[in-house]
Structures are given as structure tokens and as C-alpha cells.
């Protein structure tokens, strides 16, 4: 299996996971990657042997720490590239995404970091001058008022990647303290249900009240202070709002 292929698979697993908060199956991947399911199954078996993923019940695929690392890196590159191609170079969304899919495998870390910085500074400059209309272009396309819409990435036939969190998003472990943040997603786990019940849902405005040196955090959600362990804080993705 080629390394770009491996990266594509792992990225697709992560994206599915971020979007649906459930572990995808080979069938889902076949759909996302437009590849025949039997080929996917072969690839998935290979990746499992390599220790990138773990196959659970009913063929649910989850990433190992190693797989997660790779997927995360690629996904970040993808977002930066897509943003760059779309927002700065003015390509349409679809082409930008497709191009990004190819470039993400070969581009070096230095280049991607430079582009990322450029995109960020361009974004803030636009924010200064352009008012609301343009400044939000770097963000997730924020849905209308029903928060359920925030949870539904894109439309019916959009690939989840297209409207996945923008490059300004980070987990609570890297987010700034004491300013309003918007939840973009939770990468899930057993405790997902409890987090949702407490109001940690995409679109919700929260404040990171405290982060200790050990990365335990206090998050203010719906005016309540909630203490979270680092491993949970790390699964909550937010962006400045």
C-alpha cells in the first residue's frame, strides 16, 4: 500500500469520526473515497496489521494512537491547503478540496506551516477591513439558528470534509483561556453522551476558565463550570467565536 493511500484511508476514518462521532465501517470508507468495498476491506486489513487502526465489533474502524497521529497531520494539511486554495486563490470549493486531497500527501511541513500562517494573517486582515461578510469565510459555514444544523456537516450529498472545522480550530488543550469559544466538534468516546447532556454540543458558546499545567480544564458551559480530565478536554474541538 502506498503511503498516500494509507494517509487517505486514515484521514477518511478520522473525518468520519469527527463528523458523525461514530466509528465508520469499510462500507462508509468505500463511499467517502469512491473505491470498491472489497479493495477497502483489503486495505483496512493491511492497516490493522500495521497497527494504524483497530477493527471493533461490526467492522467499526477506530484509529490507534499512531494512526490518529498520521490522520491528524494529513487532515490539518488538507484544511490549510483547502482554505488556501479556496479563500486566497479563489478556487471553487469542490476543486479546492480535490486539489488539496492530492497535495496533502507530498507537501512538506515547512511549506504547510508557512501557508497556514499566511492564511491566518490574511484572515485576520480581512476581518479588520471587511466586517462580517468576509471575515467569516475562514470559519466553518455556520448554519442557521437551529444548533442541530451545526452538527450536520454540509448538506445531504456533501462530503464531510468540505465543511469540516476550519484551520483556526483547536482542541481545548491549545485553546486560549477566558475568551468566548465555539464548540466545533467532539471526537467522541464513552463519555460523549454526558458531554452532550451538559450542553457541550457543536455551535455552543463556551469559555475555557482554567487550564492547569497538567491540562485538566474547567470549562464554562451554559453558565455551569465543568471540570474535565485532559483526555476528555483533548477531544473537544473549539474555535474562537
Amino acid at each position: 500500500m502506498e503511503s498516500s493511500e494509507r494517509e487517505d484511508y486514515l484521514e477518511a476514518v478520522l473525518v468520519r469520526h469527527l463528523a458523525a462521532q461514530a466509528h465508520p465501517t469499510a462500507k462508509d470508507l468505500a463511499e467517502d473515497l469512491s473505491v470498491r468495498e472489497d479493495i477497502i476491506v483489503e486495505g483496512v486489513t493491511y492497516l490493522e496489521q500495521q497497527g494504524d487502526i483497530v477493527l471493533g465489533e461490526n467492522g467499526a474502524i477506530s484509529l490507534t494512537a499512531r494512526g490518529h497521529h498520521v490522520a491528524n497531520r494529513v487532515l490539518k494539511k488538507h484544511r490549510v491547503l483547502q482554505c488556501f486554495l479556496g479563500e486566497i486563490l479563489g478556487m471553487d470549493d469542490h476543486t479546492a478540496s480535490d486539489e488539496a486531497c492530492v497535495l496533502e500527501h507530498t507537501i512538506s511541513d515547512t511549506t504547510i506551516n508557512r501557508i497556514g500562517d499566511y492564511v491566518k494573517s490574511a484572515g485576520s486582515r480581512r476581518g479588520e477591513y471587511g466586517g462580517n461578510g468576509t471575515s467569516q469565510t475562514l470559519m466553518t459555514n455556520q448554519g442557521p439558528n437551529n444548533p442541530a444544523d451545526h452538527l450536520i456537516p454540509g448538506g445531504k450529498d456533501a462530503k464531510p470534509l468540505v465543511s469540516s472545522p476550519g484551520p483556526t480550530c483547536s482542541s481545548l488543550l491549545d485553546a486560549p483561556e477566558s475568551i468566548p469559544l465555539t464548540v466545533v466538534g467532539i471526537t467522541g468516546g464513552e463519555y460523549l453522551h454526558r458531554l452532550i447532556d451538559l450542553g457541550v454540543i457543536p455551535g455552543e458558546e463556551v469559555i475555557l476558565k482554567r487550564r492547569l499545567h497538567n491540562n485538566a480544564v474547567v470549562l464554562q458551559v451554559k453558565k455551569c463550570d465543568i471540570a474535565l480530565s485532559p483526555e476528555i478536554a483533548g477531544t473537544i474541538l473549539v474555535e474562537n467565536s
Binding site: A20, A148, P160, Y191, I201, H213, S229
Partner: protein
């Protein structure tokens, strides 16, 4: 007629329950105090009502025991009426649960509690508007000041009615619910839950799963998540309509100090060590007075009576038992609980849990586990019961071991009564040090070898409040009277048995049997090992037994310092007392009890032997 109190954790349900029933259920300022179901009866206008204090929950569709319990009661229509208690300060989050409860269409009364705190933080709530929107009566209370609580029962009985408020879900969800309700004879909340995969009817679950899969494919999120999001959104809209916030200048934020690494962690250490030291000092002082009183005013006069020997033996034993109960344990346990209750009610324990999260990770648990550990200094039994707070079985197993090793106040009595009195205060503290090191080592070991999943900590921080003296005293008094009623008879009876066994020479026979082991391995006189066995009944009884068997309270005249030290450390470490074994069995099952007991016996004997060898 059965009335249930439903609400989020820490909104004042137990306090209101106590005020309604006149009973004394534990009220504490941290989430998760009430785990089981508390029931009490009230008579109102010559009719009898049964009131239940339900455990606090955040929603009804989760899979914790508490959520299942509350949901089950609603689903089986076990309640004739529910009083929904909402925290006025956090109304929006509380409405999320309420909207779910309302779907069961049982008569409801909404109690907006904590209006005093809401007022203080500039929040005012339009209760008639809220009542309009929800479609059921709303009353405002500040239970802690008894404000408005008198109205709860009359309003509930005269005007409670099913709420009319309805969350309109995403149209796919609504369609799915209609189709489930069309095919199966179930109510709306049951249909919604089956869409989330919760329920008992397999056939319905299967068909719901098919629809759910379809919805999930379209929305890229599960029906459960869509439903929750819709409820949150609805709750927000309601809250926005009824809440007015007057901007208020924020005063000094104590939390800024308490939840920062520096000075938070030093403050925590100071508080905990401070409590231990103060309890130790006050306890020993009170104990000295009580023992002196018993000896000079009761035991001495008794001995001068010249009763026939068996009778005299029995009466002395009764007095010694009483003395052990009142005179020894009472000063320590009561003082300890006063302090712990202050900590509980101030909301500080959740801060401590947050700060301790990382340290607790090292020993295989999360921050919340510090609560059972702290409670363990008072009495192991409630500490073991609070282990339920922990999310995963893995954590509960580890906590079972560590909590039983923490020196409870009964063991403090031994440390104080034997080591501090006869050997020296620093030596007494060194026992604590040894036990802590063992606790940490055990935790490190267990976190490596205990199988099971790891969850992180998700804990709501209780608001900081000034503890109320009455609640603190009441709570401590309840604990101590529990102790006195349960432990006193046990103590007196076993003291008598011990006295008689000694009188008839049975003890001597046992001692001869145990003597070689005792003297060679532990370096202790045989009677000291016999006394240790009595510690299994209640820890501080080991001390009582030692005094009886040694024939004198001046233990330093019959045992060396090393012997006293060894004896104390063994009795602190080895075997949890009978009551602990019983709750541990109920909570965790036979396997854990056997493992914990075996482990503590081994560790007690090994450490004892090591000290003997080191000094011999």
C-alpha cells in the same frame, strides 16, 4: 400517593426532601451524594403521601444507574406526581432535563430553587411567563432559608398538572417517532428513546434501528445527538424569554486562587493536613478527659464494690466498652465530621478533585476519586459507599483498595492512643507517612495491572457557598449517632465476651497457639496478636482489647516502644473492619472483597515483620 423529587445533581432536592418529610437525608454541596432512593412519608390534611428523593441526573437517556433508575420509574408510571426542582442560577441547563421529564405527561410542579443565589448574581426570572410556556405551575423557593418551601406541598396537591410544553424535533425525528408510535402502542418519550436504541421491546428496537440508521446517514449524526441538540436549543429559547440579567459587577473571585496550581495545591495540602492535625489534637485532648473521667469516677469506684469476680469482670468490661465507644472514638469521629461537613458544604471538595486530577491519574484514577479518599479519613464505610461516584469499574476497584487502606478515625484513635501517647507525636505521624507511601505504591501497581476501560473526569463544579452551621452540626450529629447506635452495642457485647473469654482462660489457650508466630515473626507478645484479631470487629476495639488483655491502660509498662509501634502499624493496615467488608461486598462483589482483605492482611503482616526485623 407517590411524589418524586426530580432534578439535576446539587439543586437542593435532598434539602427540600428533608424539609418536606422532616427526615434527615444527607445534604452535601457536591454532585452525586444521593445515589439510591430515599423515601419518606408525610401527612397533609389527614392524607398520607409518600415522597421520594431521586438521585440527581442530567438526562434520562444515559446509561448510568441513576439515569436508568429515574427513567424506569417514569416509564413504569410509578410516580403519581413529580416535583421538578430547577436551579434558578443554571435554569437553561436544568430545563434540558425538565423538557425530557415533561414528555412523560405526569402531573408536575416546577420548583425554582436557589432564587436567593440567582438574585445575588443579578438574575431575575419571570415565573408566570415560565409557567405559561411550560404549561404547569411554577413556584420559587430558597430552600436554604426555608423561603417558599411551605408552599410546595399545597401547590403540588392543588394545581400540579401535566406540562403542555413540547419540543419540536427535527422533522426526520418527528416522522420517525410518528411511524414508531403508529406501529407500536408506546408513548412519545418511549418512541424517542427507542430511536436512540434504549428500550426493552426487541422488535421495536430493531425497527427503530433501521430508521435511525437512515437518519444517521442523512444527517451524519445519530438521532440521539439530534434529539439532544434540539432539546438544548429549545431550553435556550425558553431561558432567553424568562430570564433577565442585570449586569452586576463581579466581586473578588475566590475560585481564581483555589483552582490554580499555585496557590491552589499548597492551599489544598494545608487544608487537608490542617484538618488532620486539628482533629488529632482536639481528639486526643477530649479523649484524655473522657478516659480520666471513666477511670476515676466509674471504674475505680466499681472495683471498690467488691463484686463476685465474674460479675465484676462483666461490669468492668461494659465500662471499658462504653469508654472505647464514647471516650475514644467520639472525640475523633465527631470532630472530623464537623470539618469534613464544612468542606463538603463549601463546595471545596470539587475544587480539590479538579486539582488532584493529574496526581490521581498516576494511581489509576481520576480527580473525583479524591472524595472517597478524603472521606476515608473519617470512616471507611461512607467512603466505600461514595466509590459509586467513579465512572468505571476499573477505578472503583482501585479505589476499593486504596480507601480501605486510608487510616479512618478509628485507626487514628489507635495511632493517637498508642503511638502518640506512648512513643511520640512524630512517630505517630510517621505511621501516616508509611501508610501514604503504601497507598501510592499500591495505586501505582494497581493502575498497571487492573484491567478495564479508562474514562476521564467530567464533573460539575459545585458553587462556593458559606456552609451553614446548622446543616454542618446536624450532618455530623447524624453520622455520630449512627455510629453510636450501631457500634456501641457491638462494642459492649464484644467487650463482655472478651472479658469472659479471658476470665475462663480461652484467650490464654488461643495465645499459646499464636505465640510462636507472634513473637518470632512480629516480635509481639501473644496477647497483642490476639488483640489485633478483635480489630476486625471494629478497628478501635483492638486498642480496647489490648488494654483489657494487657491488664493495664499504661501500655508502655508492658510493651517496648518498638512493640507498640509495630502493633499500631499492623492494626492500621491489616483487614478492614466487618462493616467495611459488608459494604464493600454489597458495592463491589465477593471477588474484590476477598482480594482487598487478603492484600491488607499480607501487607500488614509483612510491614509488621519488616519493622520488627529492622529494629530487632
Amino acid at each position: 400517593m407517590k411524589i418524586g423529587l426530580i432534578g439535576n445533581p446539587n439543586v437542593g432536592k435532598s434539602l427540600i426532601f428533608n424539609q418536606l418529610t422532616g427526615l434527615g437525608v444527607e445534604v452535601s454541596n457536591y454532585p452525586g451524594t444521593t445515589v439510591g432512593l430515599e423515601t419518606g412519608n408525610v401527612c397533609y390534611q389527614r392524607e398520607k403521601f409518600e415522597i421520594c428523593d431521586l438521585p440527581g441526573v442530567y438526562s434520562l437517556d444515559g446509561d448510568s444507574d441513576e439515569e436508568k433508575l429515574v427513567n424506569g420509574m417514569l416509564e413504569r408510571h410509578e410516580l403519581d406526581l413529580a416535583i421538578a426542582i430547577l436551579d434558578a442560577v443554571h435554569l437553561e441547563r436544568n430545563l434540558y432535563l425538565f423538557l425530557q421529564v415533561a414528555e412523560y405527561r405526569l402531573p408536575l410542579l416546577v420548583v425554582l430553587n436557589m432564587v436567593d443565589e440567582a438574585e445575588n448574581s443579578g438574575i431575575s426570572i419571570d415565573s408566570s411567563e415560565l409557567s405559561e410556556i411550560l404549561g404547569c405551575p411554577v413556584i420559587m423557593t430558597a430552600a436554604i432559608h426555608g423561603r417558599g418551601t411551605g408552599l410546595i406541598l399545597p401547590s403540588a396537591l392543588s394545581s400540579a398538572c401535566p406540562a403542555t410544553v413540547t419540543v419540536s424535533y427535527d422533522h426526520h425525528i418527528e416522522a420517525a417517532v410518528r411511524s414508531i408510535m403508529g406501529n407500536f402502542p408506546v408513548s412519545r418519550p418511549v418512541a424517542l428513546q427507542s430511536l436512540e436504541g434504549i428500550g426493552t421491546d426487541q422488535e421495536m428496537l430493531d425497527s427503530s434501528a433501521a430508521i435511525a440508521g437512515e437518519i444517521e446517514n442523512r444527517h451524519k449524526m445519530s438521532p440521539g445527538q439530534i434529539i439532544s441538540a434540539n432539546r438544548h436549543h429549545f431550553a435556550k429559547q425558553v431561558a432567553d424569554r424568562v430570564i433577565k440579567v442585570r449586569p452586576k459587577k463581579t466581586g473578588f473571585d475566590l475560585d481564581r486562587l483555589l483552582t490554580k496550581g499555585i496557590p491552589g495545591i499548597p492551599i489544598m495540602a494545608l487544608i487537608l493536613i490542617g484538618i488532620l492535625l486539628v482533629v488529632f489534637t482536639i481528639g486526643s485532648w477530649l479523649e484524655g478527659m473522657i478516659v480520666a473521667f471513666f477511670t476515676s469516677y466509674l471504674v475505680a469506684p466499681l472495683l471498690t464494690l467488691g463484686l463476685p469476680p465474674p460479675l465484676q469482670q462483666v461490669s468492668v468490661s461494659v465500662l471499658l466498652g462504653l469508654q472505647a465507644g464514647i471516650g475514644i472514638a467520639f472525640p475523633f469521629i465527631f470532630t472530623f465530621y464537623i470539618f469534613i461537613s464544612i468542606l463538603e458544604d463549601s463546595g471545596y471538595l470539587t475544587r480539590a478533585a479538579f486539582l488532584a486530577d493529574q496526581a490521581m491519574h498516576r494511581i489509576g484514577m481520576h480527580g473525583q476519586a479524591i472524595i472517597p479518599l478524603i472521606l476515608g479519613f473519617g470512616c471507611t464505610v461512607p467512603a466505600v459507599m461514595s466509590i459509586r461516584l467513579l465512572a468505571s469499574r476499573r477505578e472503583r476497584v482501585i479505589a476499593s483498595f486504596l480507601v480501605t487502606m486510608i487510616p479512618c478515625s478509628a485507626r487514628t484513635v489507635i495511632i493517637a492512643g498508642v503511638v502518640a501517647t506512648f512513643v511520640g507525636i512524630w512517630w505517630a505521624l510517621s505511621i501516616y507517612l508509611i501508610v501514604f507511601i503504601l497507598v501510592i505504591l499500591t495505586g501505582l501497581l494497581l493502575s498497571r495491572i487492573t484491567p478495564g476501560e479508562r474514562f476521564g473526569m467530567i464533573m460539575e463544579m459545585a458553587p462556593l457557598r458559606a456552609p451553614q452551621a446548622t446543616n454542618v452540626v446536624k450532618k455530623s450529629w447524624r453520622k455520630i449517632s449512627e455510629f453510636l447506635t450501631i457500634a456501641m452495642p457491638l462494642l459492649i457485647i464484644s467487650s463482655i465476651i472478651l472479658g469472659l473469654l479471658q476470665y475462663y482462660g480461652v484467650i490464654t489457650a488461643f495465645q499459646n497457639f499464636i505465640a510462636p508466630f507472634s513473637t518470632i515473626v512480629l516480635g509481639l507478645p501473644a496477647y497483642a496478636s490476639t488483640a489485633l484479631i478483635f480489630g476486625i470487629l471494629r478497628k478501635e476495639m483492638a486498642l480496647g482489647a489490648l488494654v483489657v488483655l494487657a491488664g493495664t491502660p499504661a501500655l508502655n509498662t508492658v510493651m517496648t516502644h518498638v512493640q507498640l509501634y509495630t502493633w499500631a502499624i499492623i492494626s492500621v493496615l491489616f483487614v478492614p473492619c466487618v462493616s467495611t467488608i459488608a459494604v464493600l461486598y454489597r458495592q463491589m462483589g465477593l471477588k474484590t472483597v476477598v482480594m482487598v482483605t487478603t492484600y491488607t492482611v499480607i501487607i500488614g503482616i509483612v510491614i509488621g515483620a519488616c519493622i520488627h526485623l529492622a529494629f530487632a
